[in-house]
């Protein structure tokens, strides 16, 4: 149970402020990133008509996520955004699965990771909206149905960032804490593998998909 609040961090003084670096999250994020880079490199190395297993997995991700983006955004825009969506999904999927391996942790367990991804999606969606509609129409969208509703519309947009990032954080953190507490209560007999299978593999996959899908949907709502 002592693991509950354990965080390794480096504190660097920076012009009178303390900058805190959370070591575990950074290391785990780099593990995910390097694993994905290796995967991408190996899968794309030998492109053949009779694909290697890695190429099959890579094609699976690319084909499905490109189709999904095309459904929501249309053909033209999807060429621009589908690679990003594909990368986002693969990063989230591997991040959420990482906790299944002992001694490794999900980087998404720390609020900073989902929050930064959420803010990234938010910025992209609004950039896409301004590009597609022009600044004037975009700003006019906030004054619906009345001019005085503008502050609430802005809060509504900001609340989307909160809901998308806290959804991922709450699910992964909740799963991790439940696994920890139940393992502690049952002296780690029998149940932890099942819990890991449910929270890590199943819930992790669903939440990675939901996060990706909502990012696509936010872009689509801004564009149209």
């Amino acid at each position: 149970m002592e693991d509950l609040g354990r965080i390794h961090q480096i504190i660097v003084p920076f012009f009178g402020h303390n900058m805190t670096f959370n070591l575990e999250v950074m290391i785990m994020t780099w593990i995910v990133i390097s694993a994905l880079l290796c995967f991408g490199f190996l899968a794309a190395q030998k492109k053949s008509l009779l694909p290697s297993p890695l190429q099959v997995v890579g094609e699976l991700f690319v084909v499905h996520l490109f189709a999904l983006t095309e459904d929501a955004l249309g053909e033209e825009l999807s060429k621009k955004y589908a690679p990003l969506i594909c990368a986002l999904f693969m990063f989230l999927l591997l991040s959420n699965w990482l906790g299944i391996i002992p001694h490794l942790e999900e980087p998404t367990k720390d609020l900073n990771t989902p929050l930064s991804l959420g803010i990234m999606g938010f910025c992209i969606a609004h950039y896409a909206g301004i590009r597609a509609k022009g600044l004037k129409t975009y700003l006019k969208g906030y004054c619906e149905p009345m001019f005085i509703m503008a502050p609430l519309n802005v809060i509504g947009e900001l609340a989307k960032v909160i809901s998308i990032s806290f959804r991922l954080f709450g699910n992964i953190m909740g799963g991790a804490i439940i696994i920890l507490v139940v393992s502690y209560l049952t002296f780690s007999i029998i149940t932890p593998p099942f819990l890991n299978a449910f929270f890590g593999a199943f819930v992790g996959t669903i939440q990675a998909f939901v996060f990706t899908m909502l990012t696509v949907v936010y872009i689509a709502v801004q564009v149209n």
């Binding site: 509950l4 809901s163 709450g170 439940i178 139940v182 998909f209 899908m213």
Partner: protein
């Protein structure tokens, strides 16, 4: 009149036991009644199948009953265990009772829905009774998860030694933990039941779609459980975080409010997610070709419906960690 601490502990134990069993009886009774009503309707429609329908009614009711049996276990423990005469035993006993009592409502009602739909389905499609029973068992078992969460929280409350903690904010944290898990389980139990009901009905209408319908049912139920998991998360934080001692009224009220906020805030989104899952599963059974479109819009719809539950989680975390 001055009472000693032991008296208050006994008062709390008996009140908690009463609440656990009292609230805990509501859900299972409604769920079982719904199952029996559906079984009667089904037998009326197709009397030849009465044997199968009767069996599946009993099995379904037995599952719906288990939430209530958890409540009975907690109530009996509260009544017949000797608790340490420490002032913090009072919120512990009240919290454990409330948590299990409220937590059994949703699962009891929810488990009744798939059982009823399975009974009706058997009268319509007798050849499918085996698959219907299996599907009903899976669906009802998943509905019980929120009640099991409440049971776990009640047990942790009863068997953790809080006596070293300062009395003033800890009483509110304990009570808040119980309320959060208790209320938080209501919606998820109900919502999961709605999804499972749609899947049993869909299988009986379109027997060929068993596998996709069961899979999407499990997916929909898993998403419906997430608000209960948020409530459980808040409960665990309230129980295991150590709070500094205080004489003021505001810090304990913040912790109590965090529990109330997350608990009640989890009800609506979970029921809504249940509706969304119900709609999607029902139409996947009828239109299997478009399972990908339907699953996707179910997940997006559920995710958006969940956002108010997430706002509750945010407010609860702010109440615990910031103010």
């Amino acid at each position: 009149m001055a009472y000693d601490i032991q008296t208050w502990v006994s008062v709390a134990a008996f009140t908690g036991g009463g609440m656990a069993m009292g609230f805990g009886a509501i859900g299972a009774a409604i769920g079982e009644g719904y199952t029996a009503a559906s079984a009667n309707e089904a037998i009326g429609r197709n009397p030849e199948q009465s044997g199968d329908i009767f069996k599946s009614m009993l099995v379904g009711q037995a599952i719906a009953e288990s939430a209530s049996i958890f409540a009975l276990v907690i109530a009996l423990m509260l009544l017949f265990t000797n608790f340490p005469s420490h002032i913090l035993s009072v919120p512990v006993l009240l919290g454990a009772g409330l948590c299990m009592g409220l937590g059994a409502i949703g699962s009891g009602v929810g488990s009744g829905f798939p059982a009823g739909a399975a009974c009706k389905g058997m009268s319509r499609q007798p050849a499918m009774s085996n698959r219907l029973t299996t599907n009903m068992l899976i669906g009802s078992a998943v509905c019980q998860t929120p009640a099991i969460f409440s049971l776990v929280v009640s047990f942790i409350l009863l068997f953790t030694d809080f006596s070293a903690n300062p009395v003033s904010p800890t009483w509110a944290a304990i009570l808040g933990a119980g309320i959060s898990s208790g209320f938080g389980a209501i919606g998820s139990g109900l919502g999961g039941g709605l999804v499972a009901q749609a899947s049993c009905e869909g299988i009986s209408r379109q027997p060929l779609t068993v596998t996709p319908v069961t899979n999407v049912m499990l997916l929909g139920q898993a998403v419906t459980q997430t608000t209960a998991i948020y409530a459980l998360l808040v409960s665990f934080i309230l129980m295991f975080k150590s709070f500094p001692a205080t004489d003021a009224l505001a810090p304990p009220m913040a912790l109590l409010a965090a529990g109330i906020c997350m608990g009640i805030g989890a009800i609506g989104p979970a029921v809504g997610e249940g509706f969304a899952g119900q709609g999607a599963v029902a139409w996947i059974a009828r239109n299997e070709k478009h399972i990908a479109d339907l699953t996707r819009s179910m997940l997006v719809g559920q995710a958006v419906a969940e956002s108010t539950g997430i706002y509750s989680l945010v407010i609860a975390l702010v109440l615990i960690f910031v103010v």
